[in-house]
Point group: C2
Chain length 275, copies 2
């Protein structure tokens, strides 16, 4: 959390780049080496690091190909080259206590992530084992950005599950290292979450390819300091261009998004906020 | 599903052995070889295969140690040596469509599992990609066995989330390859699930070490044919004995549990059922 807040303050960026390496979308030139996924991700990291407050590799893209070693090396690479940029492992695990303890070990010890996403379906017990790592972040799914999420998360209408999760996580946040996922595609719900959790940082997927409205997100989600958001873009940055200059194109896409967020922050942030 | 039903019919067993290899609980003799986790699990598999309708390896036990290769070999070993025993991969993944597609690939292609557990928190979209493998099973978390599960799953009181999940999954089950997780520790809720899903098989964790009442589970959960349950035990079978004869002890524990289930099935099953 300290890394994240320092990054907001010192680099004035709320953009997170999601590292979802898809062989079918990657530029041809990136496919030629012996470890195309690792090489592509490291190039994106170096190209965009100045513009981001975090990187977010998604485990499934590595696991489906048996590339756990690449994932571990990628995270180590970010730590070594860009030590001020925290790494969020997007894993969305959720299991009973004894098993959650192992998933926490996977995320924090094996992969060395600074934070990890988890699912609340099994309750507090499935989140508690992560508290053994008080210097790492735990980001609980609350209101996800996908179209089908309302079926469970917005049920029942009058006091839906996602608000119950937000309240629970706010209460459990005794170490100050918890966050919530609140999708950009449901800005109104994001605003209701913000009103429940004070200045707890929110991870916001769904801008860019998924179509979330950036201005609506910032109006609903900024905290009293004009901060509090980690706004993720994956495809829109990673696959900005398929030519040999893909790193430059990704850098330009990341800077444009960062600048747009900055502009809106200044416009929207409450009078007297830090921004 | 065919494998499972054949197993119920031909081997008259509803017992599933969960493969949760924990180095701290494993017998000393199992720790001596170069690949203790794989060797221990294969020995348990050979010792207990006759008594089970399925094996259920839990991904986290392998992933925390970087032992994905052992997990893949273990599943291949079950397929080769015990081809009539289906393998359920306990992964509890749940993510947006594009990512769920990768997790399905991880479970079915990379690891070769016959079925996989998934979380419903992100809605139907997070389950649909698994339907591309209609010959594989998808087991959706519904009412889990752990103490904290009620916080989300039994909310709200009058028509709780777990019943919404049960109804949704029953409706989505057009390929006949869906199942639900219903914990043994909440037999009453298990009964309500059964009443909503016809003869859909239920995976039941929580007997043995977690303290679920077997008789209550069978009374609440058997379908009209006196079947329909996959009753999982992990620790009670795996760690029955820490001596060099651990395989024999696990076999005895598995047989005892299988026989107790059989006895109760005969006692409880509806008149005219297949049992």
């Amino acid at each position: 959390m300290d890394l994240l807040r320092a990054r907001w303050r010192d680099s004035d960026t709320a953009l997170c780049v999601g590292l979802d390496p898809d062989l079918e979308r990657m530029p041809d030139i990136a496919l030629r080496g012996p470890r195309p996924v690792l090489e592509f991700c490291c190039n994106i990291v170096d190209a965009t690091a100045d513009a981001v407050c975090a990187f977010k590799p998604q485990v499934a893209y590595f696991a489906a190909l048996g590339l756990e070693a690449d994932l571990a090396e990628l995270i180590a690479y970010v730590h070594a080259r860009h030590p001020r940029v925290p790494v969020i492992l997007d894993a969305k695990r959720g299991d009973i206590g004894a098993t959650a303890r192992l998933y926490a070990r996977e995320a924090f010890v094996r992969f060395g992530a600074d934070a990890v996403t988890v699912s609340p379906y099994l309750g507090l017990e499935s989140i508690e084992p992560y508290f053994d790592y008080p210097e790492r972040g735990v980001i609980v799914l609350c209101r996800t950005s996908n179209p089908d999420s309302a079926w469970l998360q917005n049920y029942p209408e009058d006091d839906p599950v996602y608000l119950r999760v937000a309240r629970g996580v706010a209460k459990w946040n005794t170490h100050g290292n918890l966050m919530l996922v609140a999708g950009a595609t449901y800005a109104k719900d994001l605003g209701r979450i913000r009103s429940l959790v004070g200045d707890m940082p929110l991870l916001v997927p769904g801008v860019g390819a998924q179509g979330g409205d950036l201005e609506a997100v910032l109006r609903a989600g900024l905290d009293g300091n004009g901060q509090g958001l980690v706004i993720n873009a994956s495809r829109a940055v990673l696959y900005a261009d398929r030519s040999a200059d893909y790193g430059m194109a990704s850098d330009a896409a990341a800077r444009a998004l960062r600048d747009e967020i900055r502009r809106l922050q200044v416009e929207i942030a409450p009078h007297g906020a830090v921004v």
